[in-house]
Protein backbone atom coordinates (compact mmCIF):
# COMPACT_ATOMS: atom_id res chain seq x y z
CA UNK A 1 0.00 0.00 0.00
CA UNK A 2 1.24 3.43 -0.77
CA UNK A 3 3.16 5.69 -0.44
CA UNK A 4 0.68 7.49 -2.64
CA UNK A 5 -2.36 5.84 -1.23
CA UNK A 6 -5.59 6.62 -3.04
CA UNK A 7 -7.30 7.67 0.16
CA UNK A 8 -6.76 11.12 1.51
CA UNK A 9 -4.34 10.48 4.32
CA UNK A 10 -1.26 11.75 2.64
CA UNK A 11 1.87 9.76 2.19
CA UNK A 12 1.92 6.61 4.23
CA UNK A 13 3.44 3.44 2.91
CA UNK A 14 2.49 0.18 4.54
CA UNK A 15 4.46 -2.96 3.93
CA UNK A 16 1.92 -5.72 4.37
CA UNK A 17 2.60 -9.38 4.90
CA UNK A 18 -0.54 -11.16 3.77
CA UNK A 19 -1.99 -14.61 4.15
CA UNK A 20 -4.78 -14.58 1.60
CA UNK A 21 -6.98 -11.70 2.70
CA UNK A 22 -5.67 -11.64 6.26
CA UNK A 23 -2.95 -9.25 7.31
CA UNK A 24 -0.17 -11.01 9.16
CA UNK A 25 2.24 -8.17 9.74
CA UNK A 26 2.39 -4.48 8.95
CA UNK A 27 5.42 -2.27 8.77
CA UNK A 28 4.59 1.41 8.32
CA UNK A 29 7.21 3.31 6.34
CA UNK A 30 7.06 7.01 7.09
CA UNK A 31 9.23 9.97 6.29
CA UNK A 32 7.87 10.84 2.85
CA UNK A 33 6.97 14.26 4.17
CA UNK A 34 9.96 14.87 6.40
CA UNK A 35 10.45 18.62 5.94
CA UNK A 36 13.23 19.33 8.44
CA UNK A 37 11.12 21.84 10.37
CA UNK A 38 13.05 21.29 13.59
CA UNK A 39 16.34 22.12 11.91
CA UNK A 40 15.07 25.27 10.24
CA UNK A 41 13.59 26.53 13.51
CA UNK A 42 17.13 26.63 14.85
CA UNK A 43 18.14 28.98 12.04
CA UNK A 44 15.34 31.51 12.57
CA UNK A 45 14.15 33.90 15.24
CA UNK A 46 11.68 32.86 17.91
CA UNK A 47 8.83 34.69 16.19
CA UNK A 48 9.60 33.07 12.82
CA UNK A 49 9.32 29.49 14.02
CA UNK A 50 5.57 29.94 14.17
CA UNK A 51 5.05 29.44 10.45
CA UNK A 52 6.56 25.97 10.60
CA UNK A 53 4.15 25.03 13.37
CA UNK A 54 1.24 26.14 11.21
CA UNK A 55 2.35 23.67 8.63
CA UNK A 56 2.87 20.77 11.02
CA UNK A 57 -0.71 19.77 11.63
CA UNK A 58 -2.06 21.68 8.71
CA UNK A 59 -5.71 21.06 9.43
CA UNK A 60 -5.40 22.44 12.98
CA UNK A 61 -2.95 25.29 12.63
CA UNK A 62 -4.24 27.27 15.60
CA UNK A 63 -3.74 24.41 18.03
CA UNK A 64 -0.17 24.00 16.85
CA UNK A 65 0.51 27.71 17.31
CA UNK A 66 -0.82 27.59 20.83
CA UNK A 67 1.39 24.60 21.57
CA UNK A 68 4.48 26.45 20.48
CA UNK A 69 3.53 29.71 22.14
CA UNK A 70 2.89 27.99 25.45
CA UNK A 71 6.51 26.88 25.39
CA UNK A 72 7.98 30.05 23.92
CA UNK A 73 6.17 32.38 26.30
CA UNK A 74 7.37 30.36 29.25
CA UNK A 75 10.94 30.48 27.98
CA UNK A 76 10.93 34.17 27.10
CA UNK A 77 8.95 35.08 30.26
CA UNK A 78 6.24 36.96 28.43
CA UNK A 79 2.72 36.66 29.76
CA UNK A 80 -0.13 37.27 27.28
CA UNK A 81 -2.94 39.56 28.43
CA UNK A 82 -6.21 38.12 29.65
CA UNK A 83 -8.16 38.96 26.51
CA UNK A 84 -5.65 37.13 24.35
CA UNK A 85 -6.10 33.94 26.34
CA UNK A 86 -9.82 33.91 25.69
CA UNK A 87 -9.35 34.72 22.01
CA UNK A 88 -6.90 31.83 21.74
CA UNK A 89 -9.38 29.44 23.30
CA UNK A 90 -12.03 30.49 20.80
CA UNK A 91 -9.68 30.03 17.85
CA UNK A 92 -8.40 26.68 19.13
CA UNK A 93 -11.87 25.27 19.53
CA UNK A 94 -12.98 26.54 16.11
CA UNK A 95 -9.99 24.86 14.59
CA UNK A 96 -10.65 21.67 16.54
CA UNK A 97 -14.06 21.61 14.90
CA UNK A 98 -12.50 22.13 11.48
CA UNK A 99 -9.97 19.37 12.08
CA UNK A 100 -12.57 16.85 13.19
CA UNK A 101 -14.72 17.80 10.21
CA UNK A 102 -11.87 17.02 7.84
CA UNK A 103 -11.30 13.74 9.62
CA UNK A 104 -14.97 12.81 9.40
CA UNK A 105 -15.11 13.62 5.71
CA UNK A 106 -11.97 11.64 4.93
CA UNK A 107 -13.06 8.75 7.12
CA UNK A 108 -16.35 8.61 5.27
CA UNK A 109 -14.48 8.51 1.97
CA UNK A 110 -12.36 5.63 3.27
CA UNK A 111 -15.42 3.60 4.06
CA UNK A 112 -17.08 4.44 0.78
CA UNK A 113 -19.46 7.19 1.89
CA UNK A 114 -19.18 10.11 -0.48
CA UNK A 115 -22.08 12.29 0.65
CA UNK A 116 -20.94 13.26 4.19
CA UNK A 117 -17.69 14.53 2.68
CA UNK A 118 -19.54 17.31 0.91
CA UNK A 119 -21.62 18.23 3.97
CA UNK A 120 -18.62 18.34 6.29
CA UNK A 121 -16.49 20.32 3.89
CA UNK A 122 -19.25 22.86 3.51
CA UNK A 123 -19.31 23.35 7.27
CA UNK A 124 -15.52 23.56 7.33
CA UNK A 125 -15.67 26.12 4.56
CA UNK A 126 -17.79 28.30 6.85
CA UNK A 127 -15.18 28.06 9.61
CA UNK A 128 -12.44 28.96 7.15
CA UNK A 129 -14.47 31.96 6.04
CA UNK A 130 -14.51 33.05 9.65
CA UNK A 131 -10.74 32.63 9.76
CA UNK A 132 -10.37 34.74 6.64
CA UNK A 133 -12.48 37.37 8.30
CA UNK A 134 -10.42 37.28 11.49
CA UNK A 135 -6.85 36.59 10.44
CA UNK A 136 -6.62 37.09 6.72
CA UNK A 137 -5.81 33.63 5.48
CA UNK A 138 -7.72 30.41 5.29
CA UNK A 139 -5.66 27.53 6.50
CA UNK A 140 -2.14 28.45 7.54
CA UNK A 141 -3.28 31.40 9.52
CA UNK A 142 -0.19 32.66 11.35
CA UNK A 143 -2.62 34.52 13.57
CA UNK A 144 -0.85 34.49 16.89
CA UNK A 145 2.39 36.14 17.82
CA UNK A 146 4.49 35.83 20.93
CA UNK A 147 2.63 37.61 23.71
CA UNK A 148 -0.54 38.31 21.78
CA UNK A 149 -2.48 37.92 18.62
CA UNK A 150 -2.02 39.63 15.29
CA UNK A 151 -5.40 41.27 14.90
CA UNK A 152 -8.10 42.00 17.41
CA UNK A 153 -11.61 40.61 17.63
CA UNK A 154 -14.53 42.96 17.20
CA UNK A 155 -18.27 42.76 17.69
CA UNK A 156 -18.95 41.90 14.08
CA UNK A 157 -16.68 38.85 14.28
CA UNK A 158 -18.20 37.65 17.54
CA UNK A 159 -21.65 38.02 16.04
CA UNK A 160 -20.62 36.00 12.99
CA UNK A 161 -19.16 33.20 15.09
CA UNK A 162 -22.36 33.07 17.14
CA UNK A 163 -24.39 32.93 13.98
CA UNK A 164 -22.29 30.02 12.78
CA UNK A 165 -22.65 28.22 16.10
CA UNK A 166 -26.41 28.53 15.98
CA UNK A 167 -26.80 26.52 12.80
CA UNK A 168 -23.81 24.21 13.19
CA UNK A 169 -25.13 21.61 15.72
CA UNK A 170 -28.18 20.87 13.60
CA UNK A 171 -26.10 20.32 10.48
CA UNK A 172 -23.63 18.19 12.40
CA UNK A 173 -26.27 15.94 13.95
CA UNK A 174 -27.80 15.46 10.54
CA UNK A 175 -24.53 14.29 9.06
CA UNK A 176 -23.76 12.31 12.19
CA UNK A 177 -26.94 10.34 11.75
CA UNK A 178 -25.74 9.44 8.27
CA UNK A 179 -22.78 7.82 9.93
CA UNK A 180 -24.12 6.24 13.02
CA UNK A 181 -27.47 4.99 11.87
CA UNK A 182 -26.05 3.38 8.79
CA UNK A 183 -26.01 -0.41 8.91
CA UNK A 184 -23.00 -0.75 6.66
CA UNK A 185 -20.98 1.77 8.63
CA UNK A 186 -21.64 0.05 11.93
CA UNK A 187 -20.87 -3.40 10.65
CA UNK A 188 -17.61 -2.13 9.17
CA UNK A 189 -16.48 -0.44 12.37
CA UNK A 190 -17.90 -2.31 15.34
CA UNK A 191 -15.45 -4.68 16.99
CA UNK A 192 -12.60 -3.72 14.66
CA UNK A 193 -9.23 -2.60 15.98
CA UNK A 194 -9.76 -3.28 19.69
CA UNK A 195 -7.28 -1.31 21.80
CA UNK A 196 -6.90 -2.14 25.49
CA UNK A 197 -6.12 0.83 27.79
CA UNK A 198 -2.90 -0.68 29.22
CA UNK A 199 -1.51 -1.27 25.75
CA UNK A 200 -2.54 2.21 24.66
CA UNK A 201 -0.71 3.81 27.58
CA UNK A 202 2.39 1.76 26.97
CA UNK A 203 2.47 2.79 23.31
CA UNK A 204 2.05 6.44 24.26
CA UNK A 205 -1.30 6.86 22.55
CA UNK A 206 -3.19 10.03 23.48
CA UNK A 207 -6.19 12.01 22.40
CA UNK A 208 -9.49 10.59 21.17
CA UNK A 209 -7.90 7.20 20.62
CA UNK A 210 -6.98 6.90 24.29
CA UNK A 211 -10.32 8.27 25.43
CA UNK A 212 -12.12 5.75 23.25
CA UNK A 213 -10.30 3.07 25.23
CA UNK A 214 -11.71 4.41 28.48
CA UNK A 215 -8.87 6.54 29.89
CA UNK A 216 -10.12 10.08 30.58
CA UNK A 217 -6.89 11.90 29.72
CA UNK A 218 -7.29 15.41 28.39
CA UNK A 219 -4.58 18.02 28.91
CA UNK A 220 -7.23 20.70 29.02
CA UNK A 221 -8.48 19.12 32.24
CA UNK A 222 -5.41 17.46 33.71
CA UNK A 223 -2.95 20.31 33.31
CA UNK A 224 -5.03 23.33 32.30
CA UNK A 225 -3.39 25.93 30.11
CA UNK A 226 -4.84 29.25 28.91
CA UNK A 227 -8.23 29.61 30.60
CA UNK A 228 -9.57 26.09 30.27
CA UNK A 229 -9.93 25.81 34.06
CA UNK A 230 -12.59 28.53 34.00
CA UNK A 231 -14.70 26.73 31.44
CA UNK A 232 -17.24 24.04 32.02
CA UNK A 233 -17.03 21.04 29.72
CA UNK A 234 -16.90 17.26 29.86
CA UNK A 235 -14.30 14.80 28.72
CA UNK A 236 -16.05 12.26 26.55
CA UNK A 237 -14.90 8.67 26.92
CA UNK A 238 -16.18 5.40 25.62
CA UNK A 239 -15.50 1.86 26.68
CA UNK A 240 -16.10 0.43 23.26
CA UNK A 241 -12.34 0.46 22.45
CA UNK A 242 -13.00 -0.06 18.72
CA UNK A 243 -13.17 2.11 15.62
CA UNK A 244 -16.82 2.94 16.23
CA UNK A 245 -16.00 4.21 19.72
CA UNK A 246 -13.32 6.52 18.33
CA UNK A 247 -15.80 7.89 15.85
CA UNK A 248 -18.39 8.54 18.56
CA UNK A 249 -15.84 10.17 20.87
CA UNK A 250 -14.75 12.57 18.16
CA UNK A 251 -18.30 13.62 17.44
CA UNK A 252 -18.97 14.13 21.13
CA UNK A 253 -15.83 16.28 21.29
CA UNK A 254 -17.28 18.46 18.61
CA UNK A 255 -20.38 18.99 20.75
CA UNK A 256 -18.20 19.85 23.72
CA UNK A 257 -16.25 22.33 21.57
CA UNK A 258 -19.49 24.06 20.67
CA UNK A 259 -20.29 24.23 24.39
CA UNK A 260 -16.88 25.76 25.16
CA UNK A 261 -17.24 28.26 22.34
CA UNK A 262 -20.62 29.42 23.55
CA UNK A 263 -19.25 30.04 27.03
CA UNK A 264 -16.01 31.64 25.90
CA UNK A 265 -17.66 34.07 23.49
CA UNK A 266 -19.77 35.52 26.29
CA UNK A 267 -16.82 35.90 28.62
CA UNK A 268 -14.18 37.60 26.44
CA UNK A 269 -12.98 40.56 28.53
CA UNK A 270 -11.84 43.90 27.20
CA UNK A 271 -8.23 44.92 27.16
CA UNK A 272 -5.12 45.01 24.98
CA UNK A 273 -4.61 42.26 22.44
CA UNK A 274 -0.84 42.03 22.72
CA UNK A 275 1.82 42.37 25.35
CA UNK A 276 3.78 45.59 24.72
CA UNK A 277 7.00 43.77 25.60
CA UNK A 278 6.72 41.70 22.44
CA UNK A 279 5.46 43.96 19.74
CA UNK A 280 6.63 45.26 16.38
CA UNK A 281 10.33 45.92 16.18
CA UNK A 282 10.95 44.23 19.54
CA UNK A 283 9.90 40.83 18.36
CA UNK A 284 13.21 39.86 16.78
CA UNK A 285 15.16 40.82 19.88
CA UNK A 286 13.64 38.38 22.33
CA UNK A 287 16.19 36.22 24.12
CA UNK A 288 15.59 33.07 26.09
CA UNK A 289 17.63 30.75 28.22
CA UNK A 290 17.00 27.40 29.81
CA UNK A 291 14.65 24.66 28.71
CA UNK A 292 10.90 24.28 28.95
CA UNK A 293 8.36 21.63 28.07
CA UNK A 294 4.78 22.58 27.38
CA UNK A 295 1.93 20.24 26.54
CA UNK A 296 -1.36 21.16 24.98
CA UNK A 297 -4.33 19.26 23.65
CA UNK A 298 -4.42 19.23 19.89
CA UNK A 299 -7.26 17.49 18.02
CA UNK A 300 -5.06 14.42 17.64
CA UNK A 301 -3.86 14.20 21.22
CA UNK A 302 -1.23 15.55 23.52
CA UNK A 303 1.03 17.99 21.67
CA UNK A 304 4.26 18.73 23.49
CA UNK A 305 7.02 21.17 22.65
CA UNK A 306 10.45 20.91 24.22
CA UNK A 307 12.30 24.17 23.69
CA UNK A 308 15.90 24.86 24.66
CA UNK A 309 17.36 28.35 24.50
CA UNK A 310 20.98 29.37 24.92
CA UNK A 311 20.60 33.10 25.52
CA UNK A 312 20.63 34.21 21.89
CA UNK A 313 17.77 35.38 19.69
CA UNK A 314 17.36 31.94 18.12
CA UNK A 315 16.18 28.66 19.63
CA UNK A 316 18.97 26.19 20.36
CA UNK A 317 16.93 23.02 20.06
CA UNK A 318 13.30 22.43 19.46
CA UNK A 319 11.64 19.06 19.62
CA UNK A 320 8.03 18.27 19.06
CA UNK A 321 6.00 15.47 20.54
CA UNK A 322 3.56 14.87 17.77
CA UNK A 323 0.52 12.86 18.80
CA UNK A 324 -0.08 11.33 15.38
CA UNK A 325 3.46 9.92 15.34
CA UNK A 326 2.75 8.00 18.55
CA UNK A 327 -0.73 7.03 17.48
CA UNK A 328 0.63 5.61 14.24
CA UNK A 329 3.17 3.47 16.07
CA UNK A 330 0.33 1.31 17.35
CA UNK A 331 -0.85 0.38 13.85
CA UNK A 332 1.23 -2.83 13.67
CA UNK A 333 -0.35 -3.96 16.93
CA UNK A 334 -3.90 -3.10 15.91
CA UNK A 335 -3.82 -4.67 12.50
CA UNK A 336 -2.55 -8.10 13.36
CA UNK A 337 -4.87 -10.75 11.92
CA UNK A 338 -7.46 -8.41 10.46
CA UNK A 339 -8.87 -8.41 6.96
CA UNK A 340 -7.23 -6.08 4.48
CA UNK A 341 -10.46 -4.09 4.08
CA UNK A 342 -10.49 -3.38 7.80
CA UNK A 343 -6.96 -1.98 7.56
CA UNK A 344 -8.39 1.09 5.87
CA UNK A 345 -10.93 1.59 8.64
CA UNK A 346 -8.26 1.26 11.33
CA UNK A 347 -5.75 3.59 9.71
CA UNK A 348 -8.56 6.05 9.06
CA UNK A 349 -9.64 6.02 12.67
CA UNK A 350 -6.17 7.07 13.86
CA UNK A 351 -6.63 10.48 12.22
CA UNK A 352 -3.27 10.76 10.54
CA UNK A 353 -1.87 14.04 9.32
CA UNK A 354 1.53 13.54 7.82
CA UNK A 355 2.84 17.02 8.25
CA UNK A 356 2.84 16.23 11.90
CA UNK A 357 4.05 12.64 11.82
CA UNK A 358 7.13 13.43 9.76
CA UNK A 359 7.52 17.09 10.63
Amino acid sequence: MGPQHPSTHGVLRLKLLLDGETVKNVEPVIGYLHRNAEKICELDYYCDSLIYFDRMDYVAAMNMEIGYLEAAEKLLAIEPPERVKWIRVVMAELNRLASHLVWAGAFGLDLGMLTPFFYFFEEREKILNLFTEICGSRQETNYMSIGGVYQDFNDKIIFKIKQFLKQFPKKMEEAYSLFIKNDIFISRTKGIGILEPEVALSYGVTGPMLRASGVPYDVRKDAPYLVYDKLNFDVPISRGKDVLARCIVRFEEMRQSVKILNQALDKIPDGPYFNPKAKKSLMIRLRGEGDVYARTESPKGEFGVHLVGDGTVKPYRLHVRSPAFKNLSILPYLSRDVLIADMVAISGSIDLVFGEVDR
Binding site: I30, G31, E38, K39, L201, G204, G290, G304
Partner: protein, 153 residues
Protein backbone atom coordinates in the same frame (compact mmCIF):
# COMPACT_ATOMS: atom_id res chain seq x y z
CA UNK B 1 19.09 3.08 46.69
CA UNK B 2 21.74 1.74 44.39
CA UNK B 3 21.87 4.87 42.28
CA UNK B 4 22.06 8.58 42.89
CA UNK B 5 19.23 10.90 41.92
CA UNK B 6 19.61 14.64 41.99
CA UNK B 7 16.28 16.36 42.05
CA UNK B 8 15.63 19.91 40.98
CA UNK B 9 12.88 22.17 39.78
CA UNK B 10 12.66 23.08 36.13
CA UNK B 11 12.14 26.60 34.89
CA UNK B 12 8.42 26.07 34.58
CA UNK B 13 7.95 24.18 37.83
CA UNK B 14 8.50 20.68 36.52
CA UNK B 15 10.03 17.94 38.63
CA UNK B 16 13.40 17.06 37.09
CA UNK B 17 15.63 14.09 37.89
CA UNK B 18 19.29 14.24 36.98
CA UNK B 19 20.84 10.82 36.68
CA UNK B 20 24.17 9.23 35.79
CA UNK B 21 24.28 7.20 32.63
CA UNK B 22 25.53 4.08 34.43
CA UNK B 23 22.48 3.65 36.65
CA UNK B 24 20.09 4.75 33.97
CA UNK B 25 18.26 1.50 33.25
CA UNK B 26 17.77 0.71 36.95
CA UNK B 27 16.11 4.05 37.62
CA UNK B 28 13.83 3.73 34.62
CA UNK B 29 12.72 0.24 35.65
CA UNK B 30 12.09 1.55 39.14
CA UNK B 31 10.04 4.49 37.87
CA UNK B 32 7.93 2.17 35.76
CA UNK B 33 7.16 0.17 38.90
CA UNK B 34 6.20 3.40 40.70
CA UNK B 35 3.42 3.92 38.19
CA UNK B 36 4.96 6.07 35.44
CA UNK B 37 3.37 4.11 32.64
CA UNK B 38 3.29 6.73 29.89
CA UNK B 39 6.54 7.71 28.20
CA UNK B 40 5.69 10.93 26.47
CA UNK B 41 8.82 12.04 24.67
CA UNK B 42 12.51 11.41 24.27
CA UNK B 43 14.58 14.41 23.24
CA UNK B 44 18.28 14.54 22.48
CA UNK B 45 20.02 17.90 22.71
CA UNK B 46 23.42 18.29 21.11
CA UNK B 47 25.84 20.44 23.10
CA UNK B 48 28.76 19.74 20.73
CA UNK B 49 30.91 17.91 23.33
CA UNK B 50 28.06 15.93 24.89
CA UNK B 51 24.53 14.87 24.13
CA UNK B 52 21.86 15.37 26.72
CA UNK B 53 18.87 13.03 26.69
CA UNK B 54 15.58 14.21 28.17
CA UNK B 55 12.78 11.75 28.97
CA UNK B 56 9.30 13.02 29.78
CA UNK B 57 7.30 10.52 31.80
CA UNK B 58 3.71 10.66 32.94
CA UNK B 59 1.74 8.85 35.61
CA UNK B 60 -1.75 7.86 34.57
CA UNK B 61 -3.03 7.37 38.14
CA UNK B 62 -2.44 10.91 39.35
CA UNK B 63 -3.74 13.05 36.51
CA UNK B 64 -0.79 12.44 34.18
CA UNK B 65 1.67 14.26 36.37
CA UNK B 66 4.86 15.11 34.51
CA UNK B 67 8.35 13.98 35.43
CA UNK B 68 11.48 14.82 33.49
CA UNK B 69 14.55 12.60 33.59
CA UNK B 70 17.78 14.01 32.24
CA UNK B 71 21.00 12.21 31.53
CA UNK B 72 24.18 13.06 29.70
CA UNK B 73 26.23 10.89 27.37
CA UNK B 74 29.67 11.73 26.02
CA UNK B 75 30.07 8.87 23.54
CA UNK B 76 26.47 9.04 22.21
CA UNK B 77 25.45 5.60 23.45
CA UNK B 78 22.80 4.81 26.03
CA UNK B 79 20.72 1.86 27.17
CA UNK B 80 17.45 1.38 25.38
CA UNK B 81 14.21 1.58 27.35
CA UNK B 82 12.07 0.03 24.62
CA UNK B 83 11.65 -3.10 26.73
CA UNK B 84 10.00 -1.00 29.46
CA UNK B 85 7.78 1.25 27.34
CA UNK B 86 6.67 0.22 23.87
CA UNK B 87 6.48 3.82 22.74
CA UNK B 88 10.22 4.22 23.18
CA UNK B 89 10.69 2.07 20.11
CA UNK B 90 9.84 4.73 17.54
CA UNK B 91 11.13 7.58 19.69
CA UNK B 92 14.57 6.03 19.92
CA UNK B 93 14.60 5.32 16.22
CA UNK B 94 13.83 8.96 15.58
CA UNK B 95 16.61 10.15 17.86
CA UNK B 96 19.03 7.73 16.21
CA UNK B 97 17.98 9.06 12.84
CA UNK B 98 18.30 12.73 13.72
CA UNK B 99 21.05 12.77 16.34
CA UNK B 100 22.99 9.58 15.92
CA UNK B 101 22.45 8.37 19.48
CA UNK B 102 22.98 4.59 19.58
CA UNK B 103 20.53 2.87 21.90
CA UNK B 104 21.98 -0.40 23.18
CA UNK B 105 19.52 -3.27 23.17
CA UNK B 106 17.04 -1.75 20.74
CA UNK B 107 15.30 -4.45 18.68
CA UNK B 108 15.22 -2.62 15.35
CA UNK B 109 17.54 0.36 15.30
CA UNK B 110 17.43 1.87 11.81
CA UNK B 111 16.49 5.16 10.25
CA UNK B 112 12.83 6.07 10.38
CA UNK B 113 12.30 9.42 8.66
CA UNK B 114 15.25 9.68 6.29
CA UNK B 115 16.05 6.97 3.75
CA UNK B 116 18.62 4.31 4.57
CA UNK B 117 22.09 5.34 3.57
CA UNK B 118 21.75 9.02 4.35
CA UNK B 119 25.11 10.45 5.35
CA UNK B 120 25.28 12.35 8.62
CA UNK B 121 22.83 13.13 11.40
CA UNK B 122 21.00 16.31 10.40
CA UNK B 123 20.00 17.76 13.77
CA UNK B 124 23.56 17.74 15.06
CA UNK B 125 25.15 21.13 15.20
CA UNK B 126 28.07 20.09 12.98
CA UNK B 127 25.87 18.81 10.13
CA UNK B 128 26.86 20.38 6.82
CA UNK B 129 23.77 21.93 5.24
CA UNK B 130 25.57 23.04 2.09
CA UNK B 131 26.04 19.53 0.69
CA UNK B 132 23.02 18.24 -1.16
CA UNK B 133 22.15 14.58 -1.06
CA UNK B 134 19.93 13.00 -3.69
CA UNK B 135 17.70 9.98 -3.46
CA UNK B 136 17.02 7.59 -6.30
CA UNK B 137 14.89 4.51 -6.34
CA UNK B 138 15.71 1.10 -7.78
CA UNK B 139 13.17 -1.33 -9.20
CA UNK B 140 12.27 -2.93 -5.86
CA UNK B 141 11.39 0.40 -4.30
CA UNK B 142 14.50 0.75 -2.18
CA UNK B 143 16.22 4.08 -1.84
CA UNK B 144 19.74 4.83 -2.93
CA UNK B 145 21.34 7.97 -1.60
CA UNK B 146 24.16 9.70 -3.41
CA UNK B 147 25.86 13.08 -3.47
CA UNK B 148 25.67 13.54 -7.24
CA UNK B 149 22.30 13.83 -8.96
CA UNK B 150 21.52 10.70 -10.90
CA UNK B 151 19.52 10.32 -14.07
CA UNK B 152 16.19 11.11 -12.42
CA UNK B 153 17.17 14.62 -11.38
Amino acid sequence: MPYEVKEEKGKDGRKVFLIQKENFLELMTDLRKQGYDHLSLITAVDFRDRIELVYHLQKSESNFELLTVRTVTYDSTIDSVSSIWESANWDEREQYDMMGVVFKGHPNLKRILLPEGWVGYPLRKDYDLSKNQYVNMDDEGNDRVSFDPGDGW
